[in-house]
């Protein structure tokens, strides 16, 4: 559907059925996928606005840079592995196969859980070395942004747990193909968000 072509059509001139015998959606994709992509746009806006606020706040004089804990690199690797495993699951289900599907899909979620645990440990370490949430705006943003990212990941894990249950209870790959694909898209999105957040948090 070309947007210009749509918007310049003259609906009062043409009568009859346009678009053939099937109802014509604007996108040739399942509604769930369209819904997810729109949600990802909204989430991108949320993260971008926080990022803008972060840079605006950084300019003010009371900002004291926070040196990011080295463990974040390790956590990042965990999240990358998680994303890779989801992609693996998606490739398997794309071939309508079942081999190693559970390992890949469930493994992907487990690595995401490990990532969240890693993030919590990082929080704990920061707390014990006296970097509290309210002691400096840089710290506040650190907790806020990592927390928000973690919450999004938890939301994904909720969907993942439902799909995993269906997978273990023996659903055909075809039935859960869409869930696995959408989880993969969501995980890649959250990986990209994390990489960007990591970059801007390091850039104090």
């Amino acid at each position: 559907m070309s947007i210009t072509k749509t918007l310049t059509s003259k609906p009062w001139e043409r009568k009859g059925i346009i678009g053939g015998l099937k109802p014509e959606g604007a996108f040739d994709a399942p509604s769930e996928r369209v819904g997810l992509i729109i949600f990802l746009v909204v989430a991108t806006i949320v993260f971008s606005l926080f990022t803008v606020s972060y840079f605006v706040r950084m300019e003010l004089p009371d900002w004291q840079p926070l040196s990011e804990p080295a463990q974040l690199w390790f956590n990042t690797v965990l999240l990358i592995i998680s994303s890779v495993m989801f992609q693996w699951a998606r490739n398997i289900v794309g071939r309508d196969s079942r081999r190693s599907l559970s390992t890949a899909f469930i493994g992907g979620g487990v690595f995401a859980i490990l990532f969240i645990i890693g993030q919590l440990i990082t929080w704990g370490n920061l707390q014990s070395s006296g970097y509290y949430l309210a002691s400096n705006p840089a710290n506040s943003f650190y907790y806020l942004l990592t927390g928000l990212h973690g919450l999004h990941l938890l939301g994904g894990l909720w969907v993942w747990s439902k799909s995993s249950t269906r997978l273990i209870s023996g659903s055909e790959p075809k039935e859960i193909k869409l869930s696995i694909e959408l989880c993969t898209v969501y995980w890649h999105f959250l990986l990209v968000v994390w990489l960007v957040l990591f970059a801007i948090l390091s850039n104090t």
Binding site: W12, L21, P23, I38, R57
Partner: protein, 596 residues
């Protein structure tokens, strides 16, 4: 409860069929029930907002006449009135109420794409309203910071509700954003993906276009409110200083400090200005359909109307700082935002011309919806023109803190959208309830509301020119405010009370008509769009009986030369045979699909 695939027809969705009363009317996933739930909660909240406005109007017209309206209560009721009317009444009613009811019906769908999420949306909305109402009962009462909630003032002692009130307010807004996002995803995906056969985007009635673009805008800008709200909650509860600058409270330096209140203002208005259009665009769409139908004439310039809706939506994202001219900014920014603001007048004026030209030489039927629709053109034009004054920095600076601004925004985004709300409720009431309203009561309601609103807001423009400041609890004695201004204020209050009380006519009418109204024709106005062509009136669960409609034409084939009637429904094919099966057409049936 079970999922039952309806037919093998292409593009059919699986419907969710509740068996119990609770499943049907409380935990309902039917878009029509959800729409009415949304609408009822919104209108109830709106009545609270209206009562608050009558109380503080009493203080303004007759100072100190009511005991419990002290300065704190005054600020609290002004704040809550603003927030309730903008967010919890208008946004929720237009998108959650009319959006939910009309989108699936007008697109020819059986329901929203994600009915469960739709249900969650209304319950989250109810939760947000409950949190909001709870703030009336906590110690310190609701926040009195003004609906803009600017920090640091909102969080400092001396502002009413600066401890619990403001926290509940922000929390309620955050929940509202979540509710809106769930509903909004539904509206957008339904319009994009669930249109019936033959229904192209450019065949959609303008109502759907208005609601669709407003929802897209909402999805883009409500995150700004969420972001601002989350950071503010951190500041309030956890002692961070995203927004809180160094400040002295009761002689003590506050713990937090160094934050940027201006950042809050930018985030707030990046949401706050498009919010005006989130309310206005659905109103534009609905009023276009109502005018066209009751003038028996196609809407003038359909394509232009669609382009104008999109153009206004896009432009409204880059004008927000015109609310901040007096916050101080680089003059170049001021110039930029003043220019974009004034440019919005172009697509908006285009729409007003097109409405008037739709009426031109139309076969106008003065039904009640038409009264309100024409009332909308007047009030909107009025409020829009004063907006042109205020868009200019030089004019805005002296007028910004006066009643001129109050008059401007009440005309343009208070009275005008409310006129459309009433027009739309009267217009679609026969479809929603299956009964007609009482004509006489509805006309009395219109005249009292319309003339009353002018009696309230025209004098406020004048008070603004005099320089009477807004937001003040009492004016006191000054040289530049003559006694006559005080008398005018008293007149305004009396008019406001009359308008407020006359809304009872509306409620009595609706409740009376639900039981005793004349049974309505399935299509009493002779309208073309799909919602009037449903096999049942009001539409049953699943909307369309056995098969989805097919659309052969746009939504505005009124008074087509040579046609047997002065309207041709969208689902009538070229050879003039109606596609709704007359044999299955049973206006008395209540629910066609419950037992499928």
């Amino acid at each position: 409860m079970a999922y039952v695939p309806l037919t093998d027809q292409d593009g059919e969705m699986e419907m969710h069929h509740p068996r119990s009363w609770v499943g049907k009317y409380v935990w309902s996933q039917d878009h029509k029930v959800i729409a009415i739930q949304y609408g009822s909660i919104a209108i109830f909240t709106g009545v609270v907002g209206m009562v608050l406005s009558m109380l503080f109007r009493l203080q303004l017209g007759f100072p100190e006449s009511v005991d419990f309206v002290d300065p704190s209560f005054y600020y609290q009721s002004v704040t809550m009135h603003g927030m309730i009317m903008v967010i919890y009444l208008l946004t929720a009613l237009f998108l959650g109420g009319f959006g939910n009811y009309l989108i699936p019906l007008m697109c020819g769908a059986r329901d929203m794409v994600f009915p469960f999420m739709n249900m969650l949306s209304v319950w989250f909305f109810l939760l947000s309203v409950l949190i909001l109402m709870a703030s009336f009962f906590v110690s310190g009462g609701p926040t009195g910071a003004g609906w803009t909630l600017y920090p640091p003032q909102a969080a400092m002692a001396g502002t009413p509700g600066s401890d619990m009130g403001i926290i509940l307010m922000v929390a309620s807004l955050a929940v509202f954003v979540v509710a809106f996002t769930m509903g909004g995803l539904n509206y957008v995906v339904t319009v994009l993906q669930y249109r019936c056969r033959g229904m192209t985007m450019m065949r959609l009635p303008l109502s759907v276009w208005g609601i669709f673009v407003a929802t897209v805008m909402g999805l883009i800008v409500f995150p700004a409110l969420l972001v601002a709200g989350v950071m503010m909650l951190f500041d309030l509860i956890l002692g961070t200083s995203f927004f809180m600058p160094a400040a002295i409270e009761s002689g003590q330096l506050m713990d937090s400090g160094g934050g940027s209140p201006l950042l809050f203002q930018h985030l707030f208005w990046f949401f706050g200005h498009p919010e005006v259009y989130i309310v206005a665009l659905p109103a534009f769409g609905l009023v276009s359909d109502i005018l066209s139908c009751h003038a028996r004439k196609n809407i003038f310039g359909y394509r232009m109307m669609v382009w104008a809706i999109i153009g206004i939506g896009a432009l409204s994202m880059i004008v927000w700082a015109h609310h901040m001219f007096i916050s101080g900014m680089n003059p170049n920014f001021g110039f930029f935002f003043a220019t974009t603001t004034v440019i919005i007048a172009v697509p908006t004026a285009l729409k007003v011309y097109n409405w008037v030209l739709t009426l031109w030489e139309g076969n106008i039927r003065m039904n009640v919806p038409m009264y309100f629709a024409i009332g909308f053109i007047f009030t909107f034009l009025h409020g829009g023109l004063t907006g042109l004054f205020l868009g200019n920095v030089g004019v805005d600076v002296p007028l910004s803190d006066t009643y001129f601004v109050v008059a401007h925004f009440h005309m343009v985004m208070g009275i005008a959208p409310i006129c459309v709300v009433f027009a739309a409720i009267y217009h679609w009431f026969p479809k929603m309830s299956g009964r007609m309203y009482h004509e006489g009561m509805a006309k009395a309601h219109f005249w009292l509301t319309f003339l009353g609103a002018y009696t309230v807001y025209l004098p406020l423009h004048y008070l603004g020119f005099l320089g009477v400041p807004r937001r003040y609890y009492a004016l006191g004695a000054t040289d530049f405010i003559p006694q006559s201004a005080q008398d005018l204020n008293a007149t305004v209050t009396i008019a406001a009370l009359i308008v407020g009380v006359s809304q009872l006519l509306f409620f009595i009418n609706i409740i009376w008509s639900l039981k005793n109204g004349k049974k309505a024709d399935p299509n009493p106005w002779g309208a073309t769009s799909l919602e009037w062509q449903t096999p049942d009136n009001p539409p049953g669960h699943g909307n369309w009986g056995d098969s989805l409609p097919t659309v052969y034409r746009w939504a505005y084939d009124y008074s087509v030369p040579g046609a047997p009637e002065d309207f041709i429904p969208q689902n009538t094919s070229e050879n003039k045979e109606p596609t709704v099966d007359e044999e299955h057409f049973d206006p008395d049936s209540d629910d066609s699909l419950a037992d499928v």
